[in-house]
Structures are given as C-alpha cells and as structure tokens.
Amino acid sequence: MTPRLQLTALRKTYGSFTAVEGTDLTLGEGEFLTLLGPSGCGKTTTLRLIGGMEKPSSGRIEINGKRVDHLPSYKRDTATVFQSGALFPHLTVTENMAYGLKMRGVPSSEIPGRIARMLDVVQMGRFAARYPSGMSGGQRQRVALARAMVVEPSILLFDEPMSALDLKLKLELRSEIRRLHRELGFTAVFVTHDQSEAMTLSDRVVIMNQGRIEQSGAPVETFERPASAFVYSFLGESCQLAIDADAGRDGSLRLANAPGAGRHLLFLRPASLRRVSPGEAPNEADARVAEVEYLGGSYRLHADAPSGRLSLDLSEAPALAPGDGVTIGWDSADATWFPAP
C-alpha cells in the first residue's frame, strides 16, 4: 500500500545553517506521528516542509505517492493547526470553517452540513456565529482544530497547538485530540517539545536533534530502549556516569558486568535506583550526599559518586547530611550503556 507520506533524504538549509539534515520518514494511513525534540531541532521546519510553507533545499516529499515538494502550500492536501490558532478575526466560526471548504472547491450545498457535523464533534456548535475575539484560548484552539479537520486533508499537521494554553486546558485538549483520532482516524504529524504530549498522543514518536532523527518508534519503545544517549537524557529524568577502564579500581564502583575497553556512559533512571547497604545489590556505587530536597510527599537525594551524580527518590526523610557517605544500588537490567562521544 502507498504510504500517506514519504520523506526521502529531505534537507533544508538556511545559509550555512542546516535545519533538517537528510530526513527519511514514512507515515501510514491513520497513523499519529509526533516529531519531538528540543527547540531548534528541526521538527517545526520538517512540518513546514510537509505543509509547503517552506521549500526543501533537496530531497523528496510524497503524499499518497505523488511528489509534492515543488507545489506551493495551497496546492497540497494538508491542513495545519497552528500554535496561535490563526483563526481569521474578521470571520465568524462558521465562516472560518467554510473558508477551507470553499477554497478547495467543495460544493456549497455540502458546506453547512459538514461544518455543523464537525462543530458537533468538537462540541463548539453553540459558538457557530461567534467571532474569534469573543472566545477563550481553548475554545479558539478547538475551532482551529475543527477548521483543519473539516476539509478532511490527507494529512493533518499540528504545529505545537497546545503550547500557548495553560496546563488544565492542555490536558483537556490533549484527550480531545486523542478521542478525535480514535473516532475519525485521521493521519497526523504532530510537532511538540513536550514529551508527555508526545507519549500520550502518538502511535509513533520521532525524536529529533540538530536536524537529524535520533530514533523513531512506539512511545514505550523509545522510552525503554533509547537508541542514543541524547534520546535517553531527553526522555524523562536520568543520571549519567562516565566510566572508563580505571573507574572503580578504588572499589567505589562495583559493577556486575563491566563494559569493554574505552570510555562509556552509563545511564540510569532515578526510579530504578535505591539506597542499599554495601554488598546488597548487584551493582553499587559509593557516593557522598550533595543535597536532600523535599518534593512534597517524597524526598530526592542527590549524591556524587566519583564518576557522576546519582539522584533517587526516598519516601521518608533520610537521616543524612551533605558530605555523608551513602551506597546506591541498581539491577543490571536497568542500566543502559552508550559509548562516550
């Protein structure tokens, strides 16, 4: 079957700066894909290349098997939900929604019905005659969503649509988008720097860094089997120990299975670390307490081992002061090794 979207060696440069570096990506029908990464990683540029708001420097973009990278935005079958919503302030909600339908040549007899149905789906029916200025940020974003969905594009593009909303609205809209995807089965590319958004919404997460794809896979897979040190440290909290052949020679680091020759980075999640008595855990590090923070309900202990800082959560206040010695242990299955750069 032809994929909905296929990017081949897609590249975008601005002068000497490379925003997107040879990206390859395939998106199946009905798939919800998230481009996740820190700001400046190229995720928004990739989205704008797909939508036709930017021209690629080289590479191909195919939608439903047809090459589109030479086509301007208005000739591509994509529709975008913008960060700002970008509702036309001089048009009512209904007129905003009719805009795309008219421009795409949908027969005018079909337009009112399609708008009414879509407004029902996003539960904004009673706002049909309102102007955007008379609505809250969350309501405007729902309309923006409906305006993009009503044209039934081949691919729905989301450009950080929730980053301007407060947390409560964000969570509400997030579950709304999940419900809509389940009910309507649209194909989507969603750009965000918020990993919880990416994890909850997507079928597949693509993690980008410095214009390149670091890893692509199901949310659980990227979190539990990160393909690179960047992905590991970008997703969730992590501790990092720099380990070379000499590490632990003084007995402060006791590993069940040491890596081969050369420098390595050992990554650990705070949740998989525990405070132990020496000899109790398969892997152990002796460290000195740096700080104990009260997190409300639990305590976080930061301790410095010779090869790096380890942090872990404790349910009760530890009777420890900065400078005290402490032993921290973990299971071998929770350790992730990467060669040091």
């Binding site: 939508g51 208005y74 421009m103 200025s133």
Partner: protein, 287 residues
C-alpha cells in the same frame, strides 16, 4: 505599589490643553471666515458688513462654480483611489520583506516626504513637458517617435497630487498591516487559497481600516491643495483651492472666497464623517 493620593485624571481631561490651543488658533479664524462669508462685496472695496446668502447662492448655482466644485471632487476622488492603490501595493511589498531590503524599500517610500510641495511641482514640471525627462526617455528608448508633452494634463495633476500624499497613505496602511498576524496569511494558503485569494479575502479585509484611513487622508489633501493642480494640470481645470486664492487675492472678493472655503470645509467634513461611519459599520472590532 504606591497608593494614589490624588485620583488620576481621566484621559479626556488630558486633551484640554491641545483642544484649547486648537480652538484659539484654528477655531477663532474659522468663525471669522464663517462670518465673512455672509458679508457682501462692493464694486469699489473688499467687503461690506451684512447678513446675506448671496455668496452661497453664487457658489452653489453659478455653473462655472459648480463645475469647479465637481472637478475638484472628481480629481480628488481619482487621486485618492490611485494613491491608495499605489500606497497599498508598496506597503505590501515592504511588509513582505525582511532585513535590509525592508529598510531600503521603507526609505524609498518615505522619500516624497523629504521634498516640499513647491519642489515637487518644479520637479514634475521638468519631468512632463515636451523637452522634459519623460519625453526624452520615451524618444530615446524608441517608445515614442515624437516628443510627448504631458504637462498641463489631468494626468500630470493627478501624479502631482498623488505624489504629495502617497507617503502618508503608505505609512497609514503599513502600520495597520504590521498588526496583521502573518500566521493568518500562512493559514489561508494552508487551507487552499491562492496568493491572490489570500490577498483579497484576508489581507484586504484585515487592513480595511487602514485603507479607509489612507483614502480619507489622500482625499482631504487633494481637496485642499491648489498649487499642484494649477501648475501641473490643464488651464481649464480650476480647483476650489485655486478659485479661493483667485477671489481673495486677484478679485479682492473676500466674502465669496470665504463662502467657497466654507463649502470646501463642509464637503471635506461630510466625506470624513461618511468614511468614518463606513469604517465603524464593518462588523465587530477586531483590531
């Protein structure tokens, strides 16, 4: 924050000094002008105190005067349309570009402001005649076989008038355009509108306030200016401004000149009020 001991004056009061100044230097002479328009003109003098409507009757019934009014209004309307279109297109070009090009275009657009009205007139008088720059350029490039004279035409008058107000119109439109969220333009294209449709259905409606403002500006400017029309336009084209000047200085008929001036002021005021109403009538405020 410090508590206010004295309540802050409402903004309306802050207008008072400027309002008082305006009333004094503008309102008083205006009242004087209004009074003058009811006086009569004796053959051997300038004016005689009276309460007569004969000047208004002359202004509004004499076919020559009516033609002057009609010509002035028509010329100003055409000038305003031409100026607004030019200013809008140029503002759009400036708005779309960034960085150095933006600054260079902005500087070019403001150049007409650096030149006084008299210099503008002299400049165009050297540009339009048979032995002027335009004529030589046309013959030199082979576009015309014989020398062309455009001085003394309505076209030249419109060019001159337009040149005087185009920078102001440009600034008015650009300031409104700068307030337009560029995402809206992107969104329009994204929803399937071609650049032309985006221009007509998004950019023009969103800048309509600026367009009407600029139109008002160009129209008012053109109604009031007399030298440019006289110096660049045809001899048969008498503007109200020129007629006032002629009655006042050459024919020494101050009452008739005043009546003309009052009619001009009323015409301009009505237009401004009408355009302002049009601006406010358009949907809810979204700017």
């Amino acid at each position: 924050m410090m508590r206010r001991l004295i309540p802050a004056p409402s903004p309306a009061w802050l207008v008072l000094p400027a309002l008082g100044f305006t009333l004094l230097v503008f309102g008083v002479p205006l009242l004087h002008l209004l009074r003058m328009s009811f006086n009569t003109h004796p053959p051997d003098g300038i004016y005689e105190l009276a309460w007569s409507l004969e000047n208004y009757v002359a202004v509004l019934t004499d076919p020559v005067n009516l033609r002057t009014i009609r010509d002035t209004v028509l010329l100003s309307l055409i000038t305003a349309v031409v100026t607004v279109v030019l200013a809008f297109l140029f503002a759009h070009a400036v708005w779309k570009r960034k960085g150095r090009v933006h600054l260079v275009l902005l500087a070019i657009a403001l150049c007409p402001m650096l030149v006084s009205e008299i210099s503008v007139i002299i400049g165009w008088r050297m540009f339009f005649p048979a032995n002027g720059f335009l004529s030589y350029a046309l013959v030199g490039t082979g576009l015309a076989e014989q020398k062309v004279n455009l001085l003394g035409t309505r076209f030249a008058a419109i060019v001159g008038l337009s040149y005087i107000s185009v920078s102001y119109c440009f600034l008015t439109i650009l300031s409104v355009m700068n307030a337009v969220d560029r995402d809206l333009i992107t969104a329009s294209g994204d929803l399937g509108a071609s650049p032309l449709r985006t221009f007509l259905r998004v950019l023009v409606p969103l800048t309509m306030g600026g367009i009407i403002g600029a139109f008002t500006q160009a129209f008012v400017f053109s109604m009031g200016i007399y030298a440019a029309v006289n110096a660049l336009g045809p001899d048969s084209l008498w503007s109200i401004g020129y007629e006032i000047q002629r009655q006042m200085l050459s024919r020494r008929d101050w009452p008739l000149a005043s009546a003309f001036a009052v009619v001009l002021i009323v015409l301009i005021s009505l237009t401004v009020i009408g355009l302002h109403a049009l601006r406010n009538r358009r949907g809810p405020r979204h700017d």
